[in-house]
């Protein structure tokens, strides 16, 4: 299965902006973030195809995962 992982703000450091990942079996978002070395505490906003998601959600083939560290403003 193929996923697009979009990283933002400080999470881009040493990882890049947009990562195309391919997995053979069912993979949770948590497994993906762990593989990228992103700590659960650093995941403040997590979106699956633009909708709120949880680390234990399983994306489908072709899905986009967007991950933000704690950021905000106004």
């Amino acid at each position: 299965m193929k996923y697009t992982v979009k990283l933002f703000a400080t999470l881009r450091e040493n990882r890049g902006k947009i990562l195309e990942m391919e997995k053979s079996g069912k993979t949770s978002i948590r497994e993906i973030t762990e593989e990228l070395g992103i700590k659960a505490d650093d995941v403040a906003i997590l979106l699956l195809n633009g909708r709120d998601a949880k680390l234990d959600d399983y994306p489908s083939d072709g899905d986009t995962i967007s991950i933000f560290p704690p950021v905000g403003g106004g």
């Binding site: 933002f8 902006k17 403040a44 633009g50 560290p69 704690p70 950021v71 905000g72 106004g74």
Partner: protein
Amino acid sequence: MNGYNGTVLRVNLTDGKITREALNQDEARKFIGGRGLATKMLMDEIDPKIDALSPENKLIFVTGPLTGTPTPTGGRYMVVTKAPLTGTVASSNSGGYWGAELKFAGYDAVIFEGKSEKPVYLNIVDDQVELKDAQPLWGKLVSEATAQLEEEHGKKAKVAVIGPAGERLSKIAAIMNDRGRAAGRSGVGAVMGSKNLKAIVVKGSNKVSIADEAKLKEVFARCMTKIKENGVTGQGLPAYGTAVLVNIINENGVFPTNNFQESVFGEAEEISGETLAEKYLKKKDPCYRCPIGCGRYCEVDDIKGQGPEYETIWAYGSDCGVSNLGDIIKANYWCNEYGLDTISAGATIAAAMELYQKGLIKEEEITGAPSLEWGNSQAIIDWTKMMGAVEGYGAKMAEGSYRLCESYGVPELSMSVKKQELPAYDPRGIQGQGIQYATSNRGGCHVRGYMISPEILGLPEKLDRFTLDGKAEWSKIFQDFTAAIDSSGLCLFTSFAMGADDYADMVNAVCGSDYTGTDFIEAGERIWNLEKVFNLEAGIDPSQDTLPKRLLEDPIEEGPSKGWVTKLSELLPQYYSVRGWDEQGIPTDEKLKGLGLK
């Protein structure tokens, strides 16, 4: 007195008389200070029905009890007046250093009344206060006027000034202080211009008296730890400023594009906070005693200055279909120079672009002027200058998007509430923000109750952005809490980290008062209701508690929020009920009595 100086300065511009009055302590306790207290003063002194640009209107520069004290972000001031853009009460809040300096000079507020025959400015040096001739400054851009006043009064003098937009009564004119900080919204700059008041220069040498230094030290340490440890105030805002929101809001599919015709901008990355930090950021530019430091200072070609903020990047960026961040920085710069509100200015250009797209603005109307094609980044700079100078077709746009669209018979194309341009979040995909926009006491605004915090950022907890459950209650609490924070003189951004008890403890340590967290929020509710009463008396009836037709009837066409409209008709009755107002949206006598407003 502690916290407050206890003195209000009154300047009659008609006869040049300057007087000092004692601050009403009972009312200060009830309305905290700042936004709340000045709204009470305004209501006591003017008929809300008056023309905002007439000499009968009053213009109040006001601080909070924490302004100028050693508290985190304690440097805010507000401008309270009747707003020419909306007809509502205006309360435009600004940071920088000017507000703290007014406290150091010994005043809590300055009330301007009447109208000067000729352009003047007010010079305050502690208890020496005089009106001076501003004719040599009239017509000058903000940085020129500021530099000239600093030359005359010394670099330590802090300057609040209007640019040509305010002088020429643009209804979207701001008051600028410390060059790049703005009391931006609702046209407060035009009220200052209507009084022939160019600037207020202030220099103070006193310290604000603190009731309990030891307690303040303890509360300060506790709140600083919270601010530093909070991801938003400790890391996100310091590193990227507010512009970091561009990608977050776009990824959620609620980033208004081409005047809210779309909600996802394909080129968001090019105008993002990440790109700003990589390409244009020169340094951080924090306000007085701010441990967060979200302010940016950017440089592009021969332009350098403060900003841009997220809202500005959006208004001039995706809302106009523009992806050239360098040109957005330039447009922001010219807004600061002419003294225009960046949200209303950018959003008005976006509205003009839609009028042009639909063939309503004819080519011959703008012959020789910049193009109004979507995405034309030179045009956003050129139109800003023309709006700021209130010249040619720019004069029509300087009235704001509502009056512009109304002149073509299509006011519904103005993406505004109560004639004030909406900010950078499409409420169709953020239901709580929708009710907040519709009921905001100053029209289209995000900082009257920032529901983005729970609905998008997950602070203090994550709410489903599409559900209606609990949104009326959350909106009320956010509105009340915000009114209280504004009135205290701290920056709203502290609320990402601090709770009501923290603010109450801080005000108590400074003023020697005895607010609980609940009292603090209740004072906010009192302020909210008072603002509502002002608006009702001004003739802003609850039929204006609504949103542009597009947001109520046209579902978002693409992206993660596809298919959604704002479900205002369901939320509004819930909101009125939660507020303890009647079904028509009018505060009941019982509610007003309970809050001590009757």
